[in-house]
């Protein structure tokens, strides 16, 4: 007899087991594909969690199907009429569930362990723990407890969904209770203070508590199984008699309800009755779970873990709300009621969606509140360029979860299976979107198309769904033809899923291809025929380059703060001046001083300290001039030129500031006035001429273009980026333009590499054209176009959008500031000369 029961339960739960195994296998396939492209611990870390989640999904789902589904089909009542002990029924169910769970864990472990061992160094230690029996038991134990608790709620509640949702608080309570019990046993009280027990003591107590916990969970489900499977039906009320409604000896007849509702009112009422309370339960569980996480934030979890957990909880709630859309009507195929009365599918569709969609909106409001709190703790800021991006990403994710799961809920064979099949489907959909779409700008809006497609799918398939077309056993005799297969609604539903996944990717790729600049073959030939000297080293070849290199604009490497305390002190001032003059006269750039040192001087002097400020600015101008000449001679690269542009521009700004302040002083001191005018005039002569500036820019640009075209696209799986070996130098350098690496996320895709080539050509062409003509306005069309191309080339979607490095400098405004400085100095010199001549 037990054998038959085992067989029956195994048949019942096989679809769920298959779904989970497909999920495990699918995860493995995705991991393998991604690891072949890039060997990155981040990929494994992200996906290991899904390997673990799949068996837990089985642990939650198996009891719901074994008990809830049987209750729905009526076979549980039939079992109770057979001559068998209730223990046999309960034993068979839990044995099948445990066996299935072990199978899931073995599959997970077998797939995960080799991949972790082969591909990750960081995970090796953890995997070696899992190879041992103790480690494996550590994985399985929590899921066993979850399984027992899921059985308990499944026996307690008649509704399978209510049983499902009730597991969440039960698990939370169980964890808290276990932790309290552990503390009580360990130290005799509930709070930790004083000396902690030794690790071996702690292990023993933890083991005992764990076994006790598992025993309690098993006993609980056993007790509830007896209550459910044994005894007379209808005796299930656990409320005391004085609370229950009194039983009536005489059943009254059917009451007459006057009034006739409209079709919409009736359908909305029906859907509300079917799923509102379940939906509120799901929503409530999500709110409680997120609050629990929020309140526990201060203890041991990192921000990353907190954010991921909250996202997962919100996504699961959205999935389960979507699973409610068609759940009530699928229960015992009640939807045929509409088919038998010729009710229009359209009105059925949107009334099914209404209540769960409203609940989804409440979930969205809750997400807004959580986002608000998270922003206050700066949690979202750490994850991306702006909170708004994270908010948009989360919103679209929740919409996708809802949309996918509402389609699944329409077509799963057993209604409660939707609550498990939908998360698995959503996982794969998310993986696909993340790997193909989510790194493109604007993907959020294109992902909306997936939502619309999925909603359209259920709208279009509602007619066959209510008529149960394709599920009437028509094809039980022999295999259906392929064309007949295509007409089956379930096959069409699968097609819509594929379409929903494909459309955003196709749309984004098509748009990007359409916006790719055209090939300028003649221009390329001309440029190739007239090469310029490339810099001898173009990244970190010379020792001075790090001090000039624009890693950050902070220039923190200065020891002047230790050397000088008060530049108003004459001795310190003279010492500083000497250093500056020595640097000006030095043969090499940055021989004694760095950009940080000059910045320090300028920050710690006022515009009144004319001499120091003039000297500091002269250092910058001297460097800028030498760099520009070096670029033209092939000594320095485009990145070095950007340094020159920056310090030259800052020198001009500083000198303008000095000029604006000092006329007050000049009125009192003619000598000072003469000195300053003479000093600035001298500096102006050192500022590189317009021709030198133009030529250095042109050479740097062409050299950068040549370097880009010479570098190869080589995919390095260790870092997931493109690298090319620098000949004669063992260091690696990413394929770059103007010293900035091309967006690595794009570089793995062939058509993106082709796009990058075209964009580099177009950008170089535009910048060269602007150089040959008049300087461009910062907000002019040409500048805007260049900036757009630059952002497409360099910036992946998750990082702050970068500025074109030439942008503030190769512009009309920059030149005008220089002219403004020259004219002010000229006026000053003229007025001084007039004063002198009068004298």
């Amino acid at each position: 007899m037990i054998r038959q029961l085992l067989w029956k339960d195994a048949m019942t739960v096989r679809v769920l087991l298959l779904t989970v195994l497909v999920g495990i296998f699918g995860t493995t396939a995705c991991v393998l594909v991604l690891l072949l492209m890039m060997r990155h611990d981040g990929v494994l870390a992200f996906l290991v969690s899904f390997w673990f989640l799949m068996p837990y999904l089985f642990a939650i789902g198996a009891p719901a199907i074994l008990i809830g589904n049987e209750e729905a089909q009526g076979s549980l009542s039939w079992l109770k009429t057979l001559p068998m002990r209730w223990q046999s029924i309960a034993d068979a169910k839990i044995l099948v569930a445990v066996a299935g769970l072990i199978i899931c864990w073995i599959a997970s472990w077998l797939f995960m362990t080799p991949l972790c061992l082969l591909f990750s160094e960081n995970h090796t230690l953890h995997v070696s723990e899992m190879i041992r029996l103790g480690g494996f038991a550590l994985l399985v134990y929590p899921s066993l407890v979850l399984l027992c608790l899921s059985f308990a709620t499944a026996y307690l509640f008649r509704s399978p969904v209510a049983g499902l949702v009730a597991v969440v608080p039960l698990i939370g309570g169980f964890i808290c209770l276990s932790a309290l019990l552990e503390r009580l046993v360990l130290i005799g009280q509930l709070q930790y203070y004083g000396d902690l027990p030794t690790p071996s003591q702690r292990e023993s107590v933890t083991l005992v508590v764990a076994l006790l916990g598992l025993l309690c969970a098993w006993c609980l489900q056993r007790m509830l199984a007896k209550r459910r499977l044994n005894g007379v039906s209808g005796r299930s009320s656990i409320l005391p008699l004085y609370i229950r409604k009194p039983d009536l000896a005489y059943q009254p007849g059917v009451a007459f309800i006057p009034g006739r509702p409209s079709v919409v009112t009736a359908l909305l009422w029906q859907q509300r009755r079917q799923c509102l309370y379940l939906g509120l339960l799901i929503l409530g569980m999500c709110v409680i779970a997120v609050l629990f996480v929020l309140l526990d934030l201060s203890t041991s979890w990192s921000i990353d873990f907190w954010v991921s957990t909250v996202r997962l909880l919100l996504a699961m709630a959205a999935i389960w709300l979507g699973s409610l859309v068609f759940y009530g009507d699928n229960f015992r195929n009640q939807r045929h009621y509409f088919a038998e009365r010729g009710v229009r599918p359209n009105v059925i569709w949107w009334t099914r969606l209404s209540v769960p969609a409203l609940l989804w909106f409440l979930l969205f409001v809750w997400m807004l509140l959580v986002h608000f709190f998270a922003s206050r703790y700066s949690a979202w800021d750490t994850k991306g360029p702006s909170p708004l991006n994270e908010f948009a990403k989360m919103t679209i994710l929740m919409m996708l979860c809802f949309a996918f799961s509402q389609l699944v809920s329409q077509w799963t064979r057993r209604p409660v299976q939707a609550f498990f099949a939908a998360p698995v489907l959503m996982f794969f959909a998310y993986l696909q979107l993340k790997s193909c779409v989510m790194f493109y700008p604007g993907y959020v809006w294109w992902s909306m198309s997936s939502v619309l497609i999925l909603l359209f799918a259920t709208w279009q398939l509602t007619g066959p769904w209510i008529e149960n077309k394709g599920s009437n056993g028509s094809y039980k005799y022999g295999k259906p033809r392929f064309t007949e297969l295509l007409k089956k609604p379930k096959v069409q539903a699968g097609g819509y899923v594929l379409l929903a996944l494909a459309v955003p990717a196709i749309a984004i790729v098509s748009l990007r291809v359409a916006r790719t600049p055209a090939l300028r073959s003649q221009w390329r030939e001309t440029l190739l025929a007239n090469p310029v000297a490339e810099p001898k080293t173009y990244f970190n070849g010379r020792a001075i380059v790090p001090s000039l290199h624009l890693k950050t604009f902070g220039y923190s490497d200065s020891d002047f703060s230790e050397r000088f305390t008060d530049l108003l002190n004459e001795n310190e001032k003279n010492e500083c001046l000497q250093l500056l003059h020595d640097e000006i006269a030095a043969a090499e750039i940055g021989e004694d001083l760095s950009i940080g040192d000059i910045l320090w001087v300028l920050e710690h002097t006022s515009d009144m300290d004319v001499e120091l400020r003039l000297a500091a600015n002269e250092v910058w101008i001297t460097w800028a001039s030498r760099i520009r000449r070096g670029v033209c001679e092939g000594e320095f690269s485009s990145r070095d030129l950007m340094v020159a542009e920056t310090i030259e521009s800052r020198a001009v700004t500083s000198l303008l500031g000095t000029l604006q302040t000092n006329p007050v002083v000049l009125q009192d001191s003619e000598e000072a006035s003469r000195e300053m005018a003479s000093g600035i005039n001298k500096l102006l002569e050192k500022i590189p001429s317009a021709d030198l500036r133009r030529e250095s820019r042109r050479v740097a640009l062409v050299a950068a273009w040549q370097i880009y075209n010479r570098q190869k696209w080589v995919w390095d799986r260790r870092e997931g980026q493109t690298y090319v070996v620098n000949p004669g130098d063992l260091q690696y350098e990413a394929k770059n333009y103007l010293g900035y690496p091309i967006a690595s996320r794009y570089a793995a895709i062939p058509y993106e590499r082709w796009r990058a080539d075209r964009i580099v050509d177009e950008l170089t062409f535009l910048l060269l054209r602007d150089l040959e003509g008049q300087p461009v306005a910062l907000e002019g069309n040409s500048a805007k176009k260049s900036l757009r191309l630059w952002r497409e080339l360099i910036a992946p979607v998750d990082y702050p959008v970068s500025q074109l490095p030439t942008r503030p400098y190769w512009t009309r405004a920059n030149d005008e500031r220089l002219e403004q400085l020259k004219s002010k100095v000229a006026k000053l010199v003229l007025s001084d000369e007039d004063n002198l001549s009068e004298d």
Binding site: V254, Q270, G473, Y477
Partner: protein
């Protein structure tokens, strides 16, 4: 001549190798109780599903109330009352709630008529459908299907689970409906009860229509002929007319015959083996068994080559 409410012309339907309906043609006149009989798997439910637009015929055409079943399934179901063999209802609703809910899809008078019907059926109030007995659920399903006064009522095993009194009451109400001009298509195994109310009968055997005739004509035309022999080894000729089945029980021969002429005894006049000859009108059940029983002895005549008995309209 009554108009046809249902018309099938050469309808065939197969499910892979299984021929569920084979070249079926029939007309159901309006204002009649039309009984569709057949053994399990004969094709009755398939035929009903084609009429209600749930299935499309592979060949032929079917119309209900002048509308094509293949194209206008939803409109047909809106106009008719249909109770399937396993009616789908929302089990969490009470009888009041489902009546109120269903009234949204029909006219104003639905609620009152529904209430009258369920009261007449003694359906308990305030009880969810899932907590009702099978018979009570069947009553609710019937009430829902008939409360909107449809022109055509299609019932697939409607009285299954009902007690005999309610069954009789229900079937007699079908007669009242027919008298008011409504048409009832009834598929049932309760042949003895159908016999009391049906005007027309169609019998399906393995997807083929064997009989389409008014019940009165069918019964008048079908006789049970019994002959008692002197000796069980004696052979007797077949009676005149269309012999459907022949059986022997010791010294008694029994034939089910259609079209038995008045002077049938003349065949046995010179036959000393026949001691006693009797004929009586066959009941519908006897006719049904004679046509459907695969173990029956059918003398000589190839039943497949015989056209369906009767005509579709008198």
């Amino acid at each position: 001549m009554n108009e046809s409410v249902i018309s099938l012309q050469n309808v065939s339907k197969s499910f892979r190798q299984n021929r569920a309906l084979d070249d079926v043609s029939l007309e159901v006149p309006s204002g009649t109780v039309f009984a569709l009989l057949g053994e399990n798997g004969a094709g009755k439910t398939t035929l009903i599903r084609i009429l209600t637009g749930f299935l499309k015929a592979d060949q032929g055409s079917a119309t209900v109330l002048g509308q094509s079943c293949a194209k206008s399934g939803i409109e047909i179901r809106r106009r008719i009352g249909y109770v399937s063999d396993n009616p789908a209802m929302y089990e969490w609703m009470t009888a009041e709630e489902i009546g109120w809910f269903t009234s949204a899809f029909y006219d104003e008078g639905f609620s009152l008529r529904y209430h009258e019907l369920v009261t007449g059926f003694d359906v308990p109030g305030g009880v969810k459908l899932k907590n009702m007995s099978k018979g009570q659920r069947a009553k609710v399903a019937l009430a829902l299907a008939t409360a909107h006064n449809p022109e055509l009522l299609i019932l697939d095993e409607p009285t299954s689970g009902l007690d005999p009194m309610v069954r009789r009451q229900f079937l007699e109400s079908m007669v009242d409906l027919a008298a008011l001009g409504q048409t009832v298509l009834l598929s049932s195994h309760q042949i003895s009860e159908v016999e009391r109310v049906a005007d027309w009968v169609a019998i399906l055997v393995q997807g083929q229509l064997k009989v389409v005739q008014s019940l009165e004509d069918l019964k008048n035309n079908t006789s049970i002929v019994t002959a008692t022999m002197d000796d069980s080894s004696a052979t007797l000729p077949l009676p005149p007319g269309q012999v459907l089945t022949e059986s022997q029980n010791a010294r008694q021969m029994r034939w089910v015959v259609q079209g038995l002429p008045d002077e049938w005894r003349n065949v046995y006049a010179g036959n000393a083996g026949a001691k006693e000859l009797k004929s009586q009108t066959a009941t519908l059940e006897e006719i049904f068994v004679a046509l459907c029983d695969p173990r029956a002895n059918r003398p000589a005549v190839d039943s497949d080559s015989v056209a369906p008995i009767g005509s579709t309209m008198s």
